[in-house]
Symmetry: C2
Subunit: 362 residues, 2 copies
């Protein structure tokens, strides 16, 4: 698919103006933009600026409340539960992780759960905040149901990413992975390209593995049967019950602990924002010398990168390296935007009366 | 393969006598036996009484020290690091989880890391202890290297299970899964049966997926190249990098945080016990009403079990159900023991001068 490249700075200015046009403050607009564009920098196109249309839709029909007043509904020195009251996901997620970090710095650990929120972008943005404070950061979110349980054919769990960040040198460890085999975004990409799905990604309404991307997407949208398989695939042979269990842990630590609904009761077309997240920060000084732990972990990551490669595989990565390299590339070359996304940006700009010139250049 | 069935009580008496013969106290012998036989009850044969030969070997050659004096080397109100000083894994793991539970009951959370330990049996035994105290329990352990990183062909990470337990009604949620596609035990079973490995379980020394169970086991034993693949399989198409990342998280929270070596520096043939574990207990009252959270989680588990089944799949499980059902079966029918394991038990009994009659009956 043809791509155009827009300078990161120009796209930043543009997105900030769009968010300001809804009534978000300059600071809030900057933060939402940073989360969005960090996804593009990391090479996670599905969670980047191509989501602007979804946010535009959710903000204009009132699922996201621009002036939402989130409130802490339960708190201890180690923990808090926040009711986001339909706030923009990125804004409340940033606040919640800051609170977890403050608690970890004061008490050793901070566990914060959030309910009644919206889509918050990439989980890894928030865990990286903790690692920049020299803490272990953990974040998860539930989403509307998209994953079938093992032996099931009805989507009952979300994409349910698990993210964990730990400081390391020269590159932090930034793990951020959906507990499905793949995200819905990757299925959409293959669908647009007219390609079949690889075996083991998704099932049809009977529960049979299917290569038909269009069918899977239709079923998800229409809340029909079928869905994306858990990490490990269909049945138990290759560990599908493990991915299912990890997704269930995500529901436990987000929806259940926050007092919000689980994935199977969420709907993106409802007016009510009911997504739940969790944000944990752990001071790893709880286990002794931080310098020693950080250096032994950095050494291990290097040993992994230096270990013997499989034939025809040029390189072994540790998690976070690809993201850093892609960020450098994006800063040099611009953000790759496909034509459909570009058209959406133009449409939103017209609706919001925002000047397109910053993204028309280049 | 032919199996004989031994009454659970008889096998309990037998194992206890064996462990007492090495010099463990009655109480210690009972505990080790309980961990071992819980694996058999749960249907995890690989971690049950068939491991007795391995323990016998490790105890008699001094890798496990019967009179080891473990010591707490670092402690805060929320955390501790324990040097096991080559203790029997089950004994120090029980102590460590009890300490984590005590800290969680006093302070809301308890994070305990252990180094210089031995194989500790099933991770799920210890997380269940926490759930029996109405806490969330988490446990992980590293093991000698058996898993290759994505794009690698050298085993650099352990089987590295992640276990999490949460109280629920009528059945607790007991998740306990290796971050490899499968455990070495399952490959051994297929090898004994002369069967090929399913596609996507393991790779040879070049990094190519192989169905040859014997080759994979030989490579592991001889520390040659090749190994078992991470959950998600080879490459990134079906999420192999996710299983690899989860295993890395396990190394971080065990070996790195405990101040012990990572999997690639562990060897079961060395005289020095250097396995690391972690034990976390979290009072989920940190998030508000425990009764509400427990009941909403129980309801969700029931919704999963009741959701639409794939064609020809009679049932959807939640994690912990199969284990409970298998326990009832074992209590009624006895522990299934294959002939090879039975011969090993007889050999150990002769060496330790323990009467075989309890396991010869039935």
């Amino acid at each position: 698919m043809k791509k155009r490249y827009i300078k990161l700075n120009n796209l930043t200015v543009f997105c900030r103006q769009i968010f300001q046009s809804y009534g978000f403050s300059t600071e809030q607009s900057e933060l939402i933009t940073q989360v969005l564009l960090t996804a593009d920098c990391f090479g996670i196109e599905s969670h980047g600026v191509q989501r602007l249309m979804r946010y535009h839709d959710e903000i204009t029909r009132g699922m996201v409340l621009v002036n939402a007043q989130a409130e802490i509904v339960y708190e201890t020195p180690l923990s808090a539960v926040i009711d986001a009251n339909q706030a923009m996901g990125q804004l409340i997620a940033d606040k919640a992780m800051r609170l977890a970090i403050r608690k970890a710095e004061n008490s050793g650990i901070g566990l914060v759960a959030v309910r009644n929120s919206n889509h918050y972008g990439i989980a890894g943005y928030y865990t990286r905040m903790a690692s920049e404070h020299d803490l272990i950061g953990i974040s998860m979110t539930n989403t509307e149901a998209i994953m079938v349980p093992t032996f099931g054919c009805q989507a009952m769990l979300g994409t349910n990413p698990i993210a964990l960040a730990m400081p390391a040198d020269p590159v932090p460890f930034l793990f951020d992975a959906a507990t499905t085999v793949v995200t819905r975004g990757k299925i959409e990409v293959l669908h647009k390209q007219g390609k079949d799905l690889p075996v083991g990604w998704a099932i049809d309404g009977q529960g049979d593995v299917t290569p038909d991307a269009g069918l899977v997407l239709d079923n998800i949208i229409q809340k029909g049967k079928g869905g994306i398989l858990p990490l490990g695939g269909a049945g138990e042979t290759n560990g599908g019950h493990k991915g299912y269990g990890l997704a269930l842990i995500c529901e436990l630590l987000t929806g259940i602990m926050a007092g919000g609904p689980t994935a199977n009761h969420l709907s993106s077309v409802a007016q009510q924002a009911q997504t739940s997240h969790c944000f944990w920060a752990v001071d790893y000084g709880l286990f002794g010398s931080k310098a020693e732990r950080r250096s032994s972990f950095s050494r291990y990551l290097q040993e992994l990168r230096d270990s013997a490669r499989a034939l025809d595989c040029p390189r072994i990565y540790t998690h976070g390296e690809k993201e850093l390299e892609n960020s450098r590339k994006v800063e040099a070359e611009g953000v790759p935007i496909n034509e459909k996304t570009y058209e959406e940006l133009c449409l939103i700009a017209r609706e919001r009366a925002v000047d397109l010139c910053s993204i028309q250049l280049q």
